[in-house]
Each structure stands twice: as structure tokens, then as C-alpha cells.
């Protein structure tokens, strides 16, 4: 039993099931990110943990205690909302102390805690202002302060950074991470931004269509996506997914792909997991950073293979140059060193690091190797 246990939890609105049997368990101090596109059920799940939505069936427990039917205020949780949900009619300190006031905490204690939290978040000078007078970043801090001051068992974050501009978002992301490391509290964090998910979390639940597609550490999710959805959703630029056929070449199983110039190329797999599947159509998944120019290839890899492929577009991005070629009718992006001399229209050697390649079944879309 973990610190936060979600057991077979479902949610239906009438006949429509928006969250299917979900099992998640995390330990104290973990940072769980629920990530997925909008409508995947992640916010619903968060609201269920908060007690803002009832559970249709199953159970949610914190510290081993079932939370079903316990009202939000009694779950010892705190939540930071997307819009921050600061009470517009109260000052910053009023906002921060409201929850404590509701829980009957004495005034002196409230003031002490407000002082601590405002020090921690550097918002001391804002305490007497109204939310309307604050900038986006300041509101964000106040919203966190309001959550922190409650000293809850679990922090819930509902897309807290999505209303900030890009720069601030990165700064606040770092700040949240620091805060988590410093305080060691348990956090459940909802976002649709996979980078936030990867950077912040100790555990990620990728959700889609009301199902948890995969639950794992950021590395597991990134390297070994359970299915094509997870593979495509996590990582930026996202994983290249293109059709291939398992063939046997020189006694070694390989992926045969068709190139834009009409020729076929076969790339040997790093393992023999698919040796018995010769002739099978698969979807090959390989991240851009595993497709490089010859010199940029991972020197530790045992399975780098060169494919001469026509270059369609090059996208210099400063530190790297993204090079796109059509393979199996799909755009496949490789991440080349910035100073590689490659132009659109060239046929150029692409180095595939097959140790990083994964294969999916085209029908079930699940990973098979």
C-alpha cells in the first residue's frame, strides 16, 4: 500500500464513462504527473482525488484511509488551480489565510505561517494587495502560498503554469521542482505539457481516452513507451513512427523500410526479439536524437546503422539541425549536429541507433519490442 492509492476508480456521467478502471499508487514524497491531451480524464481524476468529483466506483485512499465520501476540506489536501482561483475580494494575506481560518487555526498561528510562506515565496511585499493588482507570476506564487500554508498531505496542481508566458513558465517550473525537493511533499500535478511532465515528475501517468496508457518513471515512459500514443505524445520533437516490415537479413532480423526515392533499405534490429516475426508489418518507433549524422552517432551504441536517404527539409535550430526525410510515407526527423553540411535534395547518410528503436503492432498499437 502506498501513500496515495487509486484503486479501480471509475467516473461516469450518466451512461458516459469518462474514466475507466484506474489504478495508481505512489509513495510519500513522490511527484506524480498526470499528462495527456485535453479530455483524457486527467483533470477528472485530479478532482476525484480532491473530492470535487465523486467516485462512481472504486476507491481513493490517502495514508491508507479511504477518502470516498470525505469532503475536500477534510482530506488534508491543497490545490493550485489553472486560473489560480484567488478570491478577488480578499487581499493576498486574506487569500492565504482563508483556508486556515476555515479550519479554525488561531490568528497568531495563521500570521506566523503566512509570514513563513511569504518569505519562502518572496511575496511578503504583496500581502496587502488584491489579486487584481498582481502580475501573472505573482498570482501564481500567491496561489502556491495558499496551498503551502495548509501543510497538506498531498498537493494538487491543475495545470498551474499554462496561463504564464513561456519564459515565466520555465522559471516557475524550476521553482516548483526546487520547492518539491526542499519540502518533500507528495504532489499530484496535471498538465498537458509533456516537457513539464518529464522535467518535474518522479512518476508519470500518461492518460488518453479515459485510460491510463502508461504509468512509470519519466525514463521508462520516454525510452519504453507502452504504445504508439505514449510514444507520440511524450518527447519533443515527438518520436518518429513509420511503417516497416520485419525481414531476415544475413540471419539477423531487420526492419525493411521504403525510402522516398523508391528504394528499400533494411536496418538490422539491435535485438532478436522479433526474429520469429519475419514478414510481419510493424510500426517502427525511433526518437529524433537516435537518428543522427554519421559523426554524431552514439559511440557507446552497438547498433548504429547507416541508411542513405534523400533529404527533404533541413531545420537549423541553433544547437542542432533537424533533418527530415520521408520513410514509409512518413516524415522522419533526425537530430544532426549543427555544423553538418546538408541541404534539401541531397541524399545523405542517416545513422540509426537501433538500440533506441522500438516496434509497435500496427493494429493494437501496443509495443511488441
Amino acid at each position: 500500500m502506498g501513500f496515495l492509492d487509486i484503486k479501480q476508480a471509475t467516473k461516469s456521467y450518466g451512461a458516459v464513462q469518462v474514466l475507466h478502471e484506474t489504478d495508481i499508487s505512489i509513495e510519500e514524497g513522490e511527484f506524480l504527473v498526470l499528462v495527456g491531451p485535453s479530455g483524457c480524464g486527467k483533470s477528472t481524476l485530479l478532482n476525484m482525488i480532491a473530492g470535487l468529483e465523486n467516485i462512481t466506483s472504486g476507491e481513493i485512499a490517502i495514508r491508507g484511509k479511504s477518502m470516498n465520501g470525505v469532503k475536500p476540506a477534510d482530506r488534508n489536501i491543497a490545490m493550485v488551480f489553472q486560473s489560480y482561483a484567488l478570491y478577488p475580494n480578499m487581499t493576498v494575506s486574506g487569500n492565504i489565510s482563508f483556508g486556515m481560518e476555515m479550519h479554525g487555526i488561531e490568528k497568531s498561528e495563521r500570521e506566523k505561517r503566512i509570514s513563513q510562506v511569504s518569505d519562502l515565496l518572496q511575496i511578503k511585499h504583496l500581502l496587502d494587495r488584491k489579486p487584481g493588482q498582481l502580475s501573472g507570476g505573482q498570482r501564481q506564487r500567491v496561489a502556491m502560498g495558499r496551498a503551502l500554508v495548509r501543510e497538506p498531505d498531498v498537493f494538487l496542481f491543475d495545470e498551474p503554469l499554462s496561463n504564464l508566458d513561456a519564459k515565466l513558465r520555465v522559471d516557475m517550473r524550476t521553482e516548483i521542482k526546487k520547492l518539491h525537493q526542499k519540502l518533500g511533499t507528495t504532489i499530484v500535478y496535471v498538465t498537458h505539457d509533456q516537457i513539464e511532465a518529464l522535467t518535474l515528475s518522479t512518476r508519470i501517468a500518461v492518460m488518453f481516452g479515459g485510460y491510463v496508457q502508461q504509468l512509470g518513471t519519466p525514463k521508462e515512459i520516454y525510452d519504453n513507451p507502452a504504445n504508439m500514443f505514449v510514444a507520440g505524445f511524450m518527447g519533443s520533437p515527438s518520436m518518429n513512427l513509420f511503417p516497416a516490415k520485419v525481414v531476415s537479413e544475413n540471419g539477423q532480423s531487420a526492419a525493411e523500410v521504403s525510402l522516398a526515392n523508391g528504394t528499400k533499405a533494411s536496418i538490422p534490429f539491435a535485438t532478436e526479439e522479433l526474429a520469429s516475426d519475419v514478414g510481419r508489418d510493424i510500426i517502427l518507433g525511433i526518437r529524433p536524437e537516435a537518428i543522427t549524422d554519421r559523426d554524431g552517432a552514439d559511440r557507446n551504441s552497438q547498433a548504429v546503422h547507416i541508411v542513405e536517404a534523400p533529404v527533404e527539409v533541413t531545420e537549423p535550430a541553433g544547437s542542432d539541425t533537424f533533418v527530415v526525410s520521408q520513410i514509409g510515407g512518413k516524415d522522419v526527423t533526425g537530430r544532426f549536429r549543427a555544423d553538418v553540411a546538408v541541404n534539401a535534395g541531397d541524399t545523405f547518410p542517416f545513422a540509426f541507433n537501433m538500440e533506441k528503436a522500438v516496434a509497435f503492432d500496427p493494429q493494437s498499437e501496443n509495443r511488441i519490442a
Partner: protein
């Protein structure tokens, strides 16, 4: 702002604009002008004709008469005693219907349940019921409740038929109020009423103004309920004004009638003038967003 495109450079356009605005001002002010001017004339000037003319001889006697000595019943009391009757009826009725409307709007938007929308529709349809129709059954109900011919009875009636619109106003306003705030307050441990009182109500100023103006105007100006459900000692202003204006025989003292009419309308006028500038803001904040 929609105003940004208006160029103030086009002077012919501005002249046309202001001419139109002034023209409409005249259209709206004329009846009041006629009433005011004629309330300050002696009766002989009125009967001599020239309703648009300014008084040749200014007098405030009609106002004094309407206030304290005009005949509205057996006693020549003027409208004075009825003013208080109206106030003690209107204030609680407006307050009640506004508060309940606010609570209803709060429940319907922030604590919705199955059928809430249909319920709201049914509530709204109630706004359209003709008051003449409810007179007799309402009288019966008031009798059964022991509220017949009393101020609480009148307050109750106005409250009942005020709920529809006040709920409409607050519901539309609260629909635009961020639900996340309510959720945040729940997590903070605030209960149903506390959330309403501490979170929603302090932000309800604009719509409350709209609702209060609406209710105040309607209730203050009501005659039918006021006449039918009051008692000899609780007749509101409108009934007295009606008695003043509609007297069956005898000389019609038009100047006193006009003075009385303006007097009876003063509280509502005052509400519009004082709260009018919040009115558009209030409408903007909610009720026209639909």
C-alpha cells in the same frame, strides 16, 4: 472598448450625432417636463390651456397639497402617510427576493444537479404569468396563511413573483463566475453558505444593483397587488396616488395630480439616478451574456 474606432475628427458627423442625442433627450424628457411644469402652475392656468407653456405664476402649493393635504380618502391626508407604507413593504420585499434570487443563482450554477436546467426554465416561465390571473387564488392562499390584508402578506406576494427575475439575473451572472474559486474555497474548508457569503456575494455588487433596481421599480410601481392585498392601514403609495388621480367626481386638480405623481415616482427616479451608473456595468457583468 467598442469606442476606439470613433474618430472625433469628423465634425459634421459629430454634429449629427449630438443633434440625434439631444432629439432623443427631448423625446424622453417631454412627459416629465409636462408633468413638472404643470405641477407648478395654478389650476386656472392649466384649464386655460397651453400644457407646454411655462407657468406664468409659479407656485409650489400643488406640491404641498399633494404631500400633506390632498384628498385621497375620507381624511385629507395627502400622500405622506402612504409613503411609509410603501417603504416598509418595498424594502423587505426587494431584499428578500434579491437574496433568495442570489442563493438560487448560486445553487443553480455552482451546485447543479440533474434537472437543474429544467427547473430554471420552469422558474423563468413563471415570470410571464399575468398578475391579473393570480389575484383570486393568491387572495385565497394569503387568507389560508393568515397573511390577508397585512404588510407581510404584500411582501410575500411581491417576493413570490420577484424570484423569477432575480434568479435569472443572478444565475446568468454566477454562470460567468469562475467555478474554480468555489472549488478552491471548498478545499480551503468553506461550507455551502460560507462560500456564498465570503466568495460570491462580495463580488456580486454589479448584478445586485441591476436586480435591486428592477425589483424596486416593479414593486414600488405595483398597483394591483397593493390595492388587493392591503388593508386600510397598509395601502401603498400607488393606491393613494390612484385615489388622488382617479377620483370619480369633482374638480380634477391636475396640478396636484402631477405633483403627486412625480412625488410618488421620486424614490424610483432616485434609485435610477444614483445607481444608474452601476446599472450598465451590472448588465455588462452578467445578465446580457445570456
Amino acid at each position: 472598448m467598442a469606442t476606439t474606432h470613433a474618430k472625433s475628427g469628423n465634425s459634421i458627423g459629430r454634429i449629427v450625432l449630438y443633434t440625434l442625442l439631444v432629439f432623443f433627450c427631448i423625446y424622453y424628457l417631454l412627459p416629465l417636463y409636462v408633468m413638472l411644469v404643470n405641477s407648478l402652475k395654478p389650476l386656472s392656468e392649466i384649464t386655460a390651456g397651453g400644457m407646454m407653456a411655462l407657468p406664468q405664476e409659479w407656485t409650489i402649493a400643488p406640491w404641498l397639497s399633494a404631500w400633506s393635504s390632498a384628498q385621497v380618502g375620507v381624511e385629507a391626508t395627502g400622500l405622506r402617510p402612504y409613503f411609509l407604507n410603501s417603504i416598509i413593504m418595498v424594502v423587505p420585499a426587494v431584499a428578500l427576493s434579491t437574496i433568495v434570487g442570489a442563493l438560487n443563482g448560486y445553487v443553480l450554477t455552482k451546485w447543479p444537479f440533474r434537472g437543474a436546467t429544467i427547473l430554471f426554465g420552469l422558474l423563468l416561465f413563471g415570470c410571464f404569468i399575468p398578475f391579473q390571473m393570480v389575484l383570486i387564488p393568491m387572495a385565497r392562499m394569503l387568507g389560508l396563511m393568515g397573511l390577508a390584508g397585512s404588510v407581510p402578506g404584500l411582501i410575500f406576494v411581491h417576493f413570490v413573483y420577484g424570484i423569477g427575475f432575480s434568479t435569472l439575473y443572478f444565475r446568468n451572472y454566477y454562470a460567468a463566475f469562475p467555478t474554480e474559486l468555489v472549488r478552491a474555497a471548498q478545499i480551503d474548508g468553506a461550507g455551502f453558505f460560507r462560500i456564498f457569503w465570503r466568495i460570491l456575494l462580495p463580488s456580486s455588487g454589479p448584478i445586485a444593483v441591476v436586480c435591486i433596481i428592477w425589483q424596486f421599480t416593479n414593486i414600488w410601481n405595483d398597483f394591483l397587488f397593493g390595492a388587493s392585498f392591503s388593508d386600510f392601514d397598509s395601502q401603498p403609495m400607488t393606491v393613494a396616488l390612484n385615489n388622488l388621480v382617479q377620483s370619480s367626481t369633482g374638480v380634477k386638480e391636475y396640478n396636484v395630480h402631477f405633483a403627486g405623481a412625480i412625488m410618488a415616482a421620486l424614490p424610483t427616479l432616485l434609485v435610477y439616478i444614483v445607481a444608474g451608473r452601476y446599472f450598465v456595468r451590472g448588465l455588462m457583468a452578467g445578465s446580457v451574456k445570456g
